[in-house]
């Protein structure tokens, strides 16, 4: 108790100090709940790419990444407690649950540690949140389809992992878009768990029961390629399938575009959002006044930017943007 008081007092003095405060002796940890897909792998790689030079340049003393094995909130809570004991100055957090980690996050705050959550954010008020406008992302899919298909038509929705709030948000955005554009109708909905093989299986199962005139497939990312394969296997014409920035999806889109002029768009969050969170944490440690809720823009690829993005996306990876300190300052200042 005494120790945490001293630490928080110290942190307070540091925070209230001038903006010139140095972060050279500060240590930042990344607490990550899952690493088993290409998006998370790219996220960890971006973290490495950006933080290593930052550590070498002496901007911060350390930027270590930790990932839990089982994607469990209890396990991640224990991990955060370890990070507190190890004396990190800031924890950048991609959380397994928006609420279940609040206790551990509060402990970290009480120990004077800056907690910046991103992607999987936490609701604990003492933490910062770098959130994605998932609802807006879902809605943007319908807005694209509205222009591409002025007559509207029947849509198939592929959702993510049931019970995860990201899935609810994107889906809510999609349904809001459909409500505003009654020329569209969602005639089927399956859960693809953001995984290509699961999406393929689910779509293959519902497709025989769906009408022939499906004009579009609205997705959440990671599932577009599987949907395309299920349509091909069923011998159906390929509708407009919204993609999710995965390399396999973009490569498939490029193939179709070259072969038949196929048009669609692709939208997702850049895994490099971890590096934005890193710089935000650094800025907070540096004494900047940072609002608790920040919004990160999503990364959208269109017909004319497809080639450029495909070129920079590693095979099997996800289209990505890594953020710089200047980008972070811009986001903080709300530009």
């Amino acid at each position: 108790m005494n120790k945490s008081l001293i630490v928080s007092a110290l942190a307070l003095t540091l925070l209230s100090g001038t903006a010139l405060a140095e972060t050279a002796d500060k240590r930042i940890a990344l607490s990550n709940n899952y690493a088993g897909n290409s998006w998370r792998q790219a996220m960890l790689q971006s973290w490495d790419t950006v933080t290593k030079p930052a550590v070498e340049a002496g901007i911060v003393a350390a930027a270590d990444a930790f990932t839990t094995a089982e994607n469990q909130a209890t396990e991640q809570a224990a991990q955060i407690q370890n990070l507190i004991l190890q004396g990190y100055d800031a924890i950048v957090l991609n959380a397994a649950s928006p609420t279940a980690l609040n206790g551990a996050v509060k402990e970290a705050c009480d120990a004077g540690i800056i907690v910046v959550s991103f992607d999987g954010i936490v609701t604990e008020p003492c933490a910062w949140r770098i959130a994605v406008d998932f609802k807006g992302m879902g809605k943007s899919e319908i807005e694209y389809l509205k222009d591409a298909l002025p007559d509207g038509g029947k849509l198939l929705e592929i959702r993510g992992l049931a019970g995860v709030f990201v899935d609810d948000e994107i889906s809510a955005g999609i349904h809001e878009g459909v409500a505003e554009n009654p020329q569209f109708e969602i005639v089927g909905s399956v859960h693809g768990d953001w995984a290509q093989d699961v999406a393929q299986k689910a779509v293959a199962g519902i497709l025989p029961s769906l009408p022939q005139d499906i004009v579009g497939v609205v997705t959440q990312g990671g599932d577009g390629y599987g949907a395309a394969q299920a349509f091909a296997a069923a011998g159906r014409p390929t509708p407009i399938i919204i993609m999710g920035n995965r390399e396999d999806e973009l490569a498939w889109w490029k193939e179709q575009k070259d072969a038949s002029g196929y048009e669609t768009m692709s939208v997702s969050i850049a895994p490099g959002v971890s590096t934005l969170a890193f710089w935000v944490a650094q800025q907070i440690l540096d004494g900047k006044d940072v609002p608790k809720d920040l919004i990160v823009p999503f990364l959208r690829i269109d017909q004319d930017t497809l080639e450029a993005n495909l070129e920079t996306t590693p095979s099997g990876g996800v289209a990505n943007v890594e953020y710089s300190q200047e980008d972070a300052i811009k986001v903080i200042e709300g530009e």
């Binding site: 290509q196 093989d197 699961v198 199962g205 029961s209």
Partner: protein, 319 residues
């Protein structure tokens, strides 16, 4: 009448009854228009569950506590390593298949080494080895999705005589498994160990040899399923095996194999695999929300298991 009674006494019949019922309800939605498409999709996707389910069935039959939790990670590792080695080259398909089998044999021997030498319960041993295997897959290719060689991609997605090729493969493997189980000494040994390991040992059954062979068989089948799945779905992904952990156990249980070990049956794996795919398709077709779908899936599975186990009990008391 007696024939029907004898059929109803079979523990596996209920998984087929359930699969057929769900199939009928699903095609009713489109008044029969979806019959062919749905049947082909069901056979295709059931094939992967059947292959991993057969391996899990032999392991579970070894007796209480025997279960292989490393199936998903073995699928992922075999798929990623084989596809990366073949590198879309049709000439390297044989190498890819050999590597797949090697991954399976290595994982199986590794699992049994943990169980036997370190005396770790199978459920813990295979869980911990799954972390090692999954990490190896991540380390080996960082999520790279390499396309399968064209010949393999075409083979796994095509049909012969109207039946998907992967279903033919699953059928061939099932026949071998059925012969091993019902006609071969190996099947008798597995069942004997599952019924009473001590008695089996005293009766001269080579218990360790049979157990290691079973864990290797299960891992090889998982590796093969991973290989086929990654060819079928256009590339290996790090999370591709995830859903087969529970599926592999569920098809064994729904198929009428005794969870406590000692009694296995192959046909039930087919009924259960078809059923599991069809029940999700049915609920999707009727637009059930995720909550309702998971709830109903659970209720239906429990109902099938109760029906199967009650009939099994009656059958054995009257005979």
């Amino acid at each position: 009448m007696a024939a029907i009674k004898a059929m109803l006494a079979k523990p596996w019949i209920w998984s087929f009854v359930a699969a057929a019922g769900v199939w009928m309800v699903t095609i009713l939605f489109t008044a029969g228009a979806s019959t062919l498409g749905l049947t082909q999709a069901a056979l295709t996707f059931a094939a992967f569950s059947i292959i991993v389910g057969l391996g899990q069935m032999f392991v579970i039959t070894l007796g209480p506590g025997n279960v292989d939790l490393s199936i998903p990670s073995t699928m992922t590792l075999a798929g990623t390593v084989a596809l990366k080695l073949m590198d879309t080259n049709n000439g390297l398909i044989a190498v890819g298949i050999l590597v797949t089998l090697a991954v399976g044999v290595t994982v199986g021997i590794g699992n049994y080494t943990l169980i036997k030498l370190l005396r770790i319960p199978p459920i813990i041993a295979t869980l911990s080895s799954s972390f090692i295997i999954q990490s190896t897959a991540i380390w080996y290719n960082r999520g790279i999705r390499i396309k399968p060689p064209r010949v393999l991609a075409e083979f796994t997605t095509a049909s012969t005589l109207g039946i998907p090729n992967v279903a033919w493969l699953a059928l061939a493997i099932s026949i071998v498994a059925w012969v091993l189980l019902e006609r071969g000494i190996y099947g008798r040994w597995v069942s004997a160990i599952g019924q009473n390991m001590r008695a089996a040992r005293l009766a001269g059954v080579p218990v360790d040899g049979v157990r290691v062979a079973t864990y290797v068989l299960c891992a090889v089948l998982a590796a093969l399923a991973g290989f086929l799945l990654s060819c079928f779905s256009g590339g290996a992904a790090l999370n591709m095996g995830a859903e087969y952990l529970l599926t592999s156990i569920a098809v064994v249980v729904i198929g009428g194999t005794a969870v406590a070990g000692g009694f296995a049956n192959v046909p039930g794996i087919w009924g259960a695999s078809l059923f599991l795919f069809l029940v999700v398709s049915m609920l999707n077709t009727y637009g059930a929300s995720a909550g309702v779908r998971l709830f109903l899936t659970g209720v239906i599975i429990i109902a099938v298991i109760i029906a199967a186990s009650r009939r099994l009990g009656e059958g054995s008391s009257t005979s």
